[in-house]
C-alpha cells in the first residue's frame, strides 16, 4: 500500500511539473527586430568570410615560406 501511495504522489508531481512547463510564460529575453536580425546576420557572414580568408592566407603563406612549392622567379 505504501508503495502504491508513493507511486501516486510521484505521478501527481510529474503531472504538475508538465503542466507548469506547458503554461505560457512571458518573454524574458531580448527579441530582435527584423532590422537587427538582418544586421546580425550580415555581421556574422562578414566574420565568417574574414576568418576563412585568414585560414586560406596562413595555408598559402605556409606553402610559400615552408615547403617553398610556390617560390619561383616571376
Amino acid at each position: 500500500m505504501s508503495f502504491g501511495g508513493v507511486t501516486m504522489m510521484s505521478e501527481a508531481m510529474t503531472e504538475a511539473k508538465n503542466k507548469a512547463e506547458h503554461e505560457w510564460k512571458p518573454e524574458t529575453g531580448i527579441k530582435l527586430t527584423e532590422r537587427q536580425q538582418r544586421a546580425r546576420r550580415a555581421r556574422s557572414i562578414a566574420i565568417a568570410v574574414s576568418l576563412g580568408v585568414l585560414v586560406v592566407l596562413f595555408y598559402i603563406v605556409t606553402l610559400v615560406k615552408g615547403p617553398a612549392v610556390l617560390v619561383r622567379p616571376l
Partner: protein, 305 residues
C-alpha cells in the same frame, strides 16, 4: 563621449558601418604609399608575401581609424564633416568600435609579424599606437601642432612597406616619409581654413582657430616651400629617373604657385580649396611616378639585349 545607444540594446550596425569605421579613403592612401615603399625596395619579394604585407598594413590603418572614431565620437558629433559617422549617427555603439579597433590592431600586427617579418610588425604597431595615443588622445585636442606631429603616423607606411620587403630601414623610404610628413600640414591647414567654424565648435585647436587665418596661410606657404624640393629628392638621390624628376619639379612648382595664391587670398576660400584638392593630386603624382619609374626599370631589365 556621447553614448547614443543603450549598452543592452542589440546592435543595428551593418557591415557598411564597420567599413566606414576603418576610414577607407585614408586606408587607400596608406596602402598606396606602402605599396610604393614595398616596390622600390631592393630584392624580390614573393607576391603572396607582398600582398599579405599590404593586407596587414590596410587592416592596421583601419584599426587606427576605428579607434580614432571611438575616441573622437563626441567631437565628431559637433562637426558637419563628421556628424554622419557611424558612432555619432547612432548606428554603432562606442564599445563596438573599441572592440573592433582593438581586435584589428592586434590581429594585423600579429599576422604581419608571423607571416612577413617582425620589423615591419613593430613599425605597424608603433604607427597605430602613435596615431591613437599620441595624435588622437593627446595632441589633437591640446595643440595647433596636432597634425604636424601627428603626421608621423600617416607618413610611416612607405617605411613599413620597405621593411616588409627587406626587414630593415634605409634612406630611400625615409625620404618618402619626409615627403608625406611635410605634405600633411599644408594639406590639412588648407582644409581647416574653410572649416574653421567646425573645428572651433568642437574645441579642436587647429591653427586657424588658435593663430588666425593670416598665420595659417603663412605656415602653408612655409611647409610647401620645404615640400616642393623634397618631392624631387628621390630623383636627386638617384633612385628615381628623369621622368620622375620632371613631374616632381613641375608639380612642385604648381603647388608653390597655389600656396602663394592661398597666402595672398583676402576674401573667400577658392585658393584654399584648390590647394586642398591639388595637394592630394601632388602626393599621388609623386608616388605614382615612383611606381611607373620602378615598373619601367623592371620592364627594361627584362628586355632582350
Amino acid at each position: 563621449m556621447s553614448v547614443t545607444l543603450a549598452p543592452a540594446e542589440p546592435s543595428i550596425a551593418g557591415v557598411g558601418d564597420y567599413v566606414a569605421l576603418m576610414k577607407p579613403r585614408v586606408m587607400s592612401l596608406v596602402v598606396f604609399t606602402a605599396f610604393v615603399g614595398l616596390l622600390i625596395a631592393p630584392g624580390r619579394l614573393h607576391p603572396v608575401i607582398g600582398l599579405t604585407a599590404l593586407l596587414c598594413i590596410a587592416v592596421g590603418a583601419g584599426a587606427a581609424g576605428a579607434l580614432n572614431m571611438w575616441y573622437d565620437a563626441d567631437i565628431d558629433a559637433l562637426m558637419a564633416r563628421t556628424a554622419a559617422r557611424p558612432i555619432p549617427a547612432g548606428r554603432l555603439a562606442p564599445g563596438e568600435a573599441l572592440a573592433f579597433g582593438l581586435t584589428l590592431a592586434v590581429g594585423s600586427v600579429v599576422v604581419l609579424g608571423l607571416l612577413v617579418n617582425p620589423i615591419a610588425a613593430l613599425l605597424l604597431a608603433f604607427t597605430i599606437a602613435f596615431y591613437v595615443i599620441v595624435y588622437t588622445m593627446w595632441l589633437k585636442r591640446t595643440t595647433p601642432q596636432n597634425i604636424v606631429i601627428g603626421g608621423v603616423a600617416g607618413a610611416l607606411p612607405p617605411i613599413i612597406g620597405w621593411a616588409a620587403a627587406t626587414g630593415s630601414v634605409a634612406i630611400e623610404p625615409i625620404v618618402l616619409f619626409l615627403i608625406i610628413f611635410f605634405w600633411t600640414p599644408p594639406h590639412f591647414w588648407a582644409l581647416s581654413l574653410y572649416r574653421t567654424e567646425d573645428y572651433a565648435r568642437a574645441g579642436v585647436p587647429m591653427l586657424p582657430v588658435v593663430a588666425g587665418e593670416t598665420e595659417t596661410r603663412r605656415q602653408i606657404l612655409r611647409y610647401t616651400l620645404i615640400l616642393a624640393p623634397l618631392g624631387a629628392a628621390p630623383w636627386l638621390l638617384g633612385y628615381a629617373g628623369a621622368l620622375y624628376g620632371v613631374v616632381a619639379l613641375a608639380s612642385g612648382a604648381a603647388i608653390i604657385a597655389l600656396a602663394l595664391r592661398v597666402r595672398a587670398e583676402q576674401r573667400g576660400y577658392a585658393a584654399s580649396k584648390q590647394m586642398f584638392a591639388f595637394s592630394i593630386l601632388h602626393l599621388f603624382l609623386l608616388f605614382a611616378m615612383l611606381l611607373v619609374d620602378r615598373l619601367s626599370v623592371g620592364l627594361v631589365g627584362h628586355l632582350p639585349a
